[in-house]
């Protein structure tokens, strides 16, 4: 039994590379039936349903924090640069002020008081500048949505990528996946992806940039033989198209959706599906 299955798997793999068995349809008996089925019919050209999915990403807004080695390096070069540089006008003025104070310390007390009081030293100017800087409050790197974990907003994890994921109800099960649409003859796969996007995101309000006409990845789903005869296809192939979100998206989608970071993707997507998706996503720490 075991050796027969082993040979069958080897034969299947030679037929097609990149075969993946979707978890949704997998159970041990049906999988063995699938393999036997393909061997016996010896179908040379299996028919695939074409689906086009869109991977919409919100790119990072702020830089990630520096690693320890990067900080040490930056420090070192800062010190080296100041050491090799020449003094600026501001620093010359500071030196002059020091000399003035040192010389006035020995002289008449009355004269020094009025002189020192009226001179605007370089230190005064520096203090005034620092005060002005402290009054400015930059935007905080950790937002409110970060703290309360609102997965529907794009205003969280500002230094990381967020992927747009929608929920699909199939046979009573709720599955999270990238928004997809079925290919209609007469349109290119890219147009199918754009259609999938329009169904879930209000495109005139939010601006989105699709990256190219070619798909970035593919995921194969093999139907069990019972469904195969009913539908007429051996399975489905989902071609992924990548897009970047250019504007902020607060209420751009009415459907059940999440904006997930890389770690959260592993929790929400199916393992096989996730593998196909992760192949074309940019690395993150």
């Amino acid at each position: 039994m075991f050796s027969f299955r082993f040979r069958a798997i080897a034969n299947l793999l030679t037929l097609k590379n990149g075969v993946s068995l979707s978890n949704v349809y997998q159970n041990p008996q049906s999988s063995s039936r699938m393999l036997y089925g393909s061997l016996s019919t010896t179908n040379p050209s299996p028919k695939w349903e074409l689906l086009s999915a869109i991977c919409l990403e919100r790119t990072p807004i702020i830089m990630p924090p520096m690693a320890k080695i990067e900080e040490e390096m930056a420090d070192m070069f800062q010190k080296l640069d100041t050491m090799k540089s020449l003094k600026s006008d501001h620093e010359l003025k500071q030196d002059e002020d020091k000399k003035v104070i040192a010389s006035l310390a020995g002289e008449n007390q009355d004269e020094s008081n009025t002189d020192v009081a009226t001179r605007q030293t370089a230190q005064d100017f520096e203090d005034a500048c620092n005060e002005e800087l402290s009054k400015f409050k930059p935007g905080s790197k950790i937002t409110a949505e970060d703290l309360n974990g609102d997965l529907k907003s794009t205003n969280r994890k500002l230094d990381k990528h967020l992927v747009f994921v929608v929920q699909e109800k199939k046979e009573g099960k709720k599955i999270w996946k990238l928004p997809h649409a079925q290919w209609i003859s007469g349109e290119t796969l890219r147009e199918t992806a754009e259609r999938a996007l329009k169904e879930h995101v209000k495109t005139p309000d939010t601006s989105v940039r699709l990256l190219g006409n070619a798909p970035w990845g593919v995921h194969t789903i093999k139907y069990p033989s019972s469904i195969r005869e009913k539908v007429g296809f051996t399975g489905a192939k989902i071609f992924f198209f990548k897009a970047q979100l250019l504007s902020a998206c607060t209420t751009c989608s009415d459907t059940e959706h999440h904006w997930l970071g890389r770690n959260e993707l592993t929790e929400y997507l199916d393992p096989q599906y996730l593998r196909s998706v992760q192949k074309f996503l940019i690395d993150e720490d």
Partner: protein
């Protein structure tokens, strides 16, 4: 002799003055009194210049001056080659004044940091190359499978996307943008063209 002549002239003038005579000669012997105006050459009559010629002359003068101004301005517009550019002379004189006296402390620590940095950057570049290979292989795989399914869709997929290039992306900043921040106009030089 002289006194005799003088007496004679006085007698003549007195006698003449008694008679009714008009005479420009006043004194002996010529009885001619000359004054400075009579010594000079009489004035030449000034010819009236043609106003058009005057205008033409002035025009030519103006043009000559404007040409020379343009030539000078051209000179200043031409940028100096970098080899010729030098520090402002005032700063050159102050160089000694502006030099610092501090020295490097702990050179060994600097070497350690550089070593760690080299290996860190090398690892980073390895990972980036791996990532690029992974992503491009995923795309090639997808195109291969698409080609196996339909040649027509494959050809449409490998068309160049004219809207994508030229590609610009604003890089991440160190802090996020503040919502509702009132941006003030900075200092600027007003360059609106003025028409006469």
């Amino acid at each position: 002799m002289n006194s005799l002549i003088r007496k004679m002239s006085m007698v003549i003038t007195e006698s003449l003055m008694s008679q009714r005579t008009i005479c420009t000669n006043i004194r002996f012997p010529t009885f001619l009194q000359v004054s400075s105006p009579l010594l000079a050459e009489p004035m030449k009559k000034k010819k009236k210049m043609d106003p058009q010629i005057i205008k033409a002359r002035e025009e030519r003068k103006r043009k000559r001056i404007e040409k020379s101004i343009k030539k000078l301005e051209k000179n200043t517009k031409q940028l100096k080659p970098i080899e010729e550019i030098d520090w402002p002379i005032s700063l050159q004189k102050q160089k000694l004044l502006r030099e610092r006296t501090e020295t490097i402390s702990q050179p060994q620590q600097g070497q350690d940091i550089l070593k760690a940095w080299r290996s860190y950057k090398y690892q980073q570049s390895l990972q980036e190359t791996k990532m690029i290979d992974r992503i491009s292989s995923s795309q090639l795989q997808a195109l291969e499978q698409l080609r196996a399914i339909s040649e027509d869709l494959y050809i449409k997929a490998i068309q160049m996307d004219d809207l994508l290039l030229p590609f610009t992306a604003a890089g991440p900043s160190s802090t996020p943008p503040i919502i509702g921040y009132d941006v003030l106009d900075g200092e600027y030089i007003d360059e609106t063209p003025k028409w006469k």
